[in-house]
Amino acid sequence: MYINAASTISHQPTFRNAGFSSNLRKLDPSSGLITPDYGDFIPAMERRRMSHVQKMAIACSLDCLQQAGIQQPDAIIVGTSMGCSINTKNFLDKILAATNGPLSPTSFIVSTHNTIAGQIALSLKNHGYNMTHTQNSLSFEQSLIDGILTIENGAQNVLVGGADEEEDTIYNMRARLKNEEIHLTCGASFFILSKNQDSITSARLVDVASFGLIDNTTGTIKNFLDTNNTLAEEIDLVLFAVSDQENKNDLKSIFQPWQMFDYQEITGTYYTNSSFAMHYAVDILSNKGHSIFGDKVKNILVCNNLIPGNLGLMLLKN
């Protein structure tokens, strides 16, 4: 499976900036989203109902299609943990404020998780397979697996992405319920997965796996590498996100410290940030810039252990 285009909007200068991996700095979580002029991608009459997450997703999707030189993907598959959380909050506010009058239909329509993939399809006038996966911190990995299966079933090019937006209420609820004062960031990363290698291919997606309720992280990672005939020492770079020190120690028992990089230092925390990590890996492998990890990186493992018990693994090669 080949990655023939990648596009990210985030708190970092990633959009339309190939080679960005060579000059990203550690993220200040309170920094703002760096966005293009959405007017270049979405007509005003369509844009007016969209929140950040929808606009990011559409801009990245159109950028990917342009990079890959294709008009229509055979399928659109989106992973999102929190969906259109800003619109969901607006909808709930309107329910609370309503007395006997009717409720606004728009707030409901644009607050569902599958609005994102649906809006991309409407924007492209695409009638292909359209799917949304919401599986907490593994939403993006589930989408990738669906994308691979779709290609194995005959599709040539599939648009796959991960997207989430920050919303203050969610931050406040987490702070109160779980005593976690994590400043959530947001972002969207989209890719064209293709059956065939091309002159524009940036990297090869060798395998993706997602596991829930695991109690043996090290064994699961070792099995994944074994399945792909890859030794731990052959991995040039492990891009990881962990929930605690214990999980980090699990990784340290397999990999050397110089192999490991905590991708949340550049992505910040949101539940589909492994999609940003995958674009980071693709950018390093495509070698368009001069990566801080050197020019000889050939094998990258993205290890998403953001939530205890949830493990997403993606193996990429150049």
């Binding site: 005003a44 009459m45 844009r47 007016r48 109902r49 009058g101 009717p102 409720l103 606004s104 239909p105 728009t106 329509i109």
Partner: protein, 87 residues
């Protein structure tokens, strides 16, 4: 421009998030849908909600909706007509 028509235009712009449009840009007799302001079917539902929310006026069937939501003039006439009936 009557106060009612001006209010309607302001409410439509706010409720439908019509960026970059001012009340003065909307002609009283211009079609709200299609070639006019370019509203769509979701906007039609929003306008039905708006009429009830701000003016206590209910649009209960499709035919009335098509007639009443055709333009600012048609909306304001319907509101005044319903108020007269309920006096």
């Amino acid at each position: 421009m009557s106060d009612l028509k001006y209010e309607l235009k302001k409410q439509i712009i706010e409720e439908l998030n019509l960026e970059d449009i001012q009340p003065e840009d909307i002609e009283d007799d211009a079609p709200l849908f299609g070639d006019g302001l370019g509203l769509d079917s979701i906007d039609a539902l929003e306008l039905v909600v708006l009429m009830e929310k701000y003016y206590g006026v209910k649009i209960t069937d499709e035919e009335t909706g098509k007639k009443v939501l055709a333009s600012i003039n048609a909306m304001s006439e319907f509101i005044l007509e319903q108020k007269e009936k309920n006096k």
